[in-house]
């Protein structure tokens, strides 16, 4: 038994390989890129097909398109205020790109592109650079008072300013790692429990097959939980973007 115990290869599922044969190989087009294209295409198709009928009483797809528009629009208006309308396209795109990436990754044989730190870090850095540029455009050099709250004692400046700067700079780090860690941890958990199933059935025979029902049931529950997490993390990413934009527009 000792020699043939299969080890759990939990991180192998995140390895990239090129797709679409030699054409994809020549430009390093990986399955991650393919899933991004699929996610973008599905989102565009949902909005295009959904918005086309323009019925007064919407059908299912139109209701979906209108609901998603309304949801993000409400979030922008609520969090950022009046200036939020300008940032609606950005938040909408971010939310649905991440949501589609997370949910498509739960399908069998697909790939979660949000489980790569390169992707989430790129999104987070884009957000934080945009927030800084927006803040500079709205307030000019007055923006730098953000790092020293009005009314704080001058004596504390050497402590408060570095702390505020560090907290500002740690935003993209926490934003990207939160999404990435959630996705990786979820998929690794699924993989580990699936491996338990194979190990039990392989090592213990008939008793193992009956015992393997336990991890299977847990995996079914975990898939449901992962669906919740997929939505929640896209929501958290979008709402934190809104909160940062609010800070940039209003400075505290």
């Amino acid at each position: 038994m000792a020699a043939e115990v299969p080890s759990i290869d939990a991180l192998g599922q995140f390895k990239l390989h090129t797709v679409l044969g030699p054409i994809g190989g020549s430009v390093n087009f990986t399955q991650s890129n393919l899933m991004m294209v699929v996610a973008g295409g599905l989102l565009l198709a949902m909005l295009y097909v959904g918005a086309r009928p323009r019925a007064v009483v919407p059908g299912r797809l139109q209701a979906l398109a209108e609901l998603s528009y309304d949801f993000i629009y409400g979030m922008c208006a609520e969090q950022i205020g009046d200036a939020g309308k300008k940032f609606f396209p950005l938040v909408f795109t971010l939310f649905f790109f991440i949501l589609f990436g997370n949910v498509l990754g739960l399908l069998p044989f697909s790939f979660t592109f949000t489980s790569h730190i390169a992707v989430t870090a790129a999104l987070a850095i884009m957000v934080i650079v945009l927030v800084t540029v927006v803040a500079l455009a709205y307030h000019g050099l007055h923006f730098f008072t953000y790092f020293f709250p009005a009314g704080a004692p001058k004596l504390l400046a050497p402590i408060i300013v570095p702390v505020e700067i560090i907290s500002y700079l740690s935003r993209p780090v926490s934003l990207s790692i939160r999404l990435f860690a959630n996705m990786v941890a979820g998929h690794v958990m699924l993989e580990v429990f699936a491996s338990f199933m194979v190990m039990m059935a392989g090592a213990l025979g008939a008793i193992g097959v009956i015992g393997a029902v336990g991890p299977l049931a847990l995996n079914v529950a975990l898939i449901g939980f992962e669906l919740l997490v997929a939505f929640l993390q896209a929501y958290v990413f979008a709402i934190l973007t809104c909160i940062y934009l609010h800070d940039a527009v209003h400075l505290h």
């Binding site: 959630n182 941890a185 929640l232 958290v236």
Partner: protein, 74 residues
């Protein structure tokens, strides 16, 4: 101590952080239940905020879990 044992121990130590996360999530939901019990009409507003807090706290748990996985599987 050989490397495999040290890895298992390290992964176990890494998830001690989950104790704090458990307290945090318990706090969030106790506050949520409290506020909904006091003012049931605020349920819709408070529930969204509670879920946001849950997601932010749960992320800390996943940082620890991720470190444990990295220790175990790489």
């Amino acid at each position: 101590m050989d490397v495999a044992a040290a890895k298992a121990l390290g992964a176990g130590i890494a998830v001690i952080a989950l104790a704090g996360v458990g307290i945090g999530i318990g706090n969030i939901f106790s506050a949520l239940v409290n506020s909904v019990a006091r003012n049931p009409s605020a349920r819709d507003q408070v529930f969204g905020i509670g879920i946001l807090g849950f997601a932010l706290t749960e992320a800390v748990a996943l940082f620890a879990l991720l470190i444990a996985f990295l220790i175990l599987f790489t």
